[in-house]
């Protein structure tokens, strides 16, 4: 146990910070053309992705030809810490960079890597993740979108929903049923679907906050024909890969949630004194206690996350991954609620830009994305109870 990283890791951090200071996109650049969806890559973001790739700072743990510098786990950790704190998004296509590309590198053909993964890493294209359907949410294996082999093509029919960024993405990492006659988990495959293929219709779903910038979409597929070469990995092997993809997703998310919690806490501590000042004396200590509880949780999130990380690096299993998904999203939600309720009617303000300003109900409602998506809090509890604690299913 120790509180500090090795000095070589801190040097790595400094090296990245120095590079970041010289190469980051400017605030004006980003504000003039903001990314409005999770697969929207404005011009500045394309250039930024390319700069990160060329300098080996896009995915530091990967080799240089894939945008990295063969960095170790601790180095990647401090890189992500600084990237998340910097106010510059590492990518405007988190599902693409965080889930789709790693999965393609694991399971894709050389041609798929060349045509889909590498252009995404160069900032030229973006991807969305087509898993959920109207009848397949938590119960993902229940998905019904069909892919039927026809010569050297697949014909797709069905519907996806909640597909983040489908309204901007160039291709979709699509989960579909290729064998309806075997148990649910055994008949699922993954197919790469260019979004401009005829028969693909995208209908944005406006969200409860910022409805003017929809990120979620329904995707309807009617007799969509894609080359059979777009099958990722083995036929009917999609479920195993899905667990791989979700693992990629969780691996990336925990640290972001630590930093997000800390930055949220920072904002809360900036807001709190003046809000508390304005409260009647007898309410002040009560409100202060709420703030203190959030403060403690922000540290708890960090401590739990870093311990899980240490266990993973040691090669152990880390139940912290599911715990972190559950805990980090819940504590960030609590922080958002406490801050907004403490602030009073001003918390009802609504700004046109997407933002995560603590002390607004927009922030609070926005957080539900993380308690619902990628395995809801209830599903995380099921996982912890069954997989970690060994309680029986049923």
């Amino acid at each position: 146990m120790k509180l500090r990283f090795e000095s070589s890791v801190e040097e790595f951090r400094q090296e990245f910070l120095a590079w970041l200071a010289d190469n980051r996109p400017t605030a004006e650049e980003m504000a003039a053309d903001p990314a409005v969806s999770s697969a929207h890559c404005p011009e500045w973001a394309k250039r930024w992705t390319k700069r990160l790739f060329d300098a080996g700072w896009l995915v530091p743990g990967w080799p240089p030809e894939r945008g990295g510098r063969n960095a170790g786990a601790h180095e990647t950790l401090v890189y992500l810490e600084e990237m998340s704190r910097s106010g510059v998004p590492r990518t405007t296509n988190p599902q693409g960079l965080g889930i789709v590309v790693p999965s393609l590198l694991d399971y894709g053909t050389p041609d798929q890597i060349e045509r889909y993964a590498m252009p995404l890493l160069h900032g030229e294209i973006t991807a969305c993740l087509g898993m959920s359907e109207p009848d397949a949410g938590s119960d993902l294996a229940n998905l019904k979108t069909r892919a039927v082999r026809d010569g050297d093509t697949f014909v797709l029919n069905g519907q996806k929903v909640w597909t983040s960024g489908a309204n901007y993405a160039d291709f979709c990492f699509l989960f579909c049923r290729t064998d309806p006659d075997v148990p649910k988990h055994k008949g699922i495959s993954i197919i790469l679907l260019p979004m401009d293929t005829p028969g693909v219709t995208v209908r944005p779903l406006n969200e409860i906050v910022h409805p003017q910038h929809p990120d979620l979409n329904e995707v309807f597929l009617t007799d969509v024909v894609v080359p059979a070469a777009n099958l990722v990995g083995k036929l009917n092997d999609g479920w195993a890969m899905a667990n791989g993809s979700l693992a990629h997703e969780r691996g990336m998310v925990w640290l972001m949630s630590v930093i997000d919690m800390e930055m949220g806490m920072q904002q809360m501590l900036e807001l709190a004194p003046s809000i508390l000042e304005a409260l009647p004396e007898q309410e002040r200590a009560v409100a202060a206690d709420d703030v203190v509880r959030c403060y403690i949780e922000s540290h708890a999130v960090r401590c739990l996350g870093y311990r899980g990380f240490a266990r993973l690096v040691k090669g152990g299993s880390a139940p912290e991954q599911a715990l972190m998904k559950l805990f980090a999203s819940a504590s960030r939600q609590r922080l958002a609620r406490v801050a907004a309720e403490m602030r009073g009617p001003d918390a009802l303000e609504s700004k046109p830009q997407r933002s995560r300003r603590v002390g607004t109900l927009e922030d609070y409602f926005g957080i539900f994305g993380s308690t619902i998506s990628a395995g809801s809090s209830e599903i995380q509890r099921n996982i912890i109870a069954e997989k970690v604690l060994g309680l029986p299913r049923g």
């Binding site: 120790k2 703030v291 708890a300 069954e386 309680l391 049923g394």
Partner: protein, 369 residues
Amino acid sequence: MDLELSDDQQMLRDNIRTVLTGACPPSLVRAVHEGTSDGAELWHQVVDLGWPALGIREEAGGVGLGFVEVALLAEELGRAAAPGPLLATISQFVPVLEEFDCIDLLAEVAEGRRSGSLAVAEGSSWGLHSISTVAEVTADGARITGRKDAVLAGSQVDSFAVVARDRTSGQLGVYLVERSAATVIPTGALEPTLGLADVVFDGAPAVVLAAAGVEAALERVLQQATTAMTLHIIGACRRVFELTLDYAKIRVQYDRVIGSFQALKHRFADMYLMVEKANALGYFAAVAIAENDPRRAEASHMAKATAGECQRLLVEDGLQLHGGIGYTWENDLHFWLKRAKAGELLCGSSLHHRSQLAAALGLISEVNV
């Protein structure tokens, strides 16, 4: 930041756990609860193993391990609901002696010839501001007059490190008083294994350990005592968790084990999260103390506050999910329920520690306790 136990620490933990499984079985805890044993044999065993010397500097015959290892031992003692003066000695008495370089006394502790506890709290306060016990300096030491409340292992230790105010200068100092020179009134009858006692000093002869300028050192001692108690509570909570989980896997109702009901599964997930997060914060505080990091005060407040939340949930759900059997004296569960609850009331409640944090964050004005 690395909050995972090193291989050596893990080995130490396993070793302690194995020893305590044999030396401190529930039957021993029961015997102390039922008044048929005073747990003395456990103390003799841990002395033979050199455990009191764990955190004592080598120069005084100690093992010279850091505070993380002390915290580990405190946690395991909680897990075993161990009776006796070891927790007080390693987490309260030794830190005082270390702070004030009392080499001879440390050597006595290391050899197992002396146990001790910190006598600081008056009333329900845990802090240095409202101390009214006084010390009168004499030709050969001092005489102490006053009353200390809920001293950990007060009826079990050989000696007390008493925090008292010099009658003339008003300065806080630390004084060593033998238990035989004080009137010890056992309290906390619901959890007798902790040996809690109110201790009354009526001109008790004392050795001066430090007569003035002790505040900063004592704050560090309080942080150690608090953090050890934090881990101790968490150890007890983890035991409650394990007992409850085991029970949920075998108790059948409605033709299925109760652990298969989702309503209970989710409560287990929440309990597990609670124990793990309290544990992570507890060791954050322990490392901050071990490394003398500037965050040590804040970290120990956060950890104790979270241990408080942890014991609430684990005591309530642990007892509730056992059903009627957990409500009986014959079942062992209550040893850990009571230990966890008692821990909340010692070394400052979670309310106390949260209010300290609120003040430190500038959210409320300074609280003087």
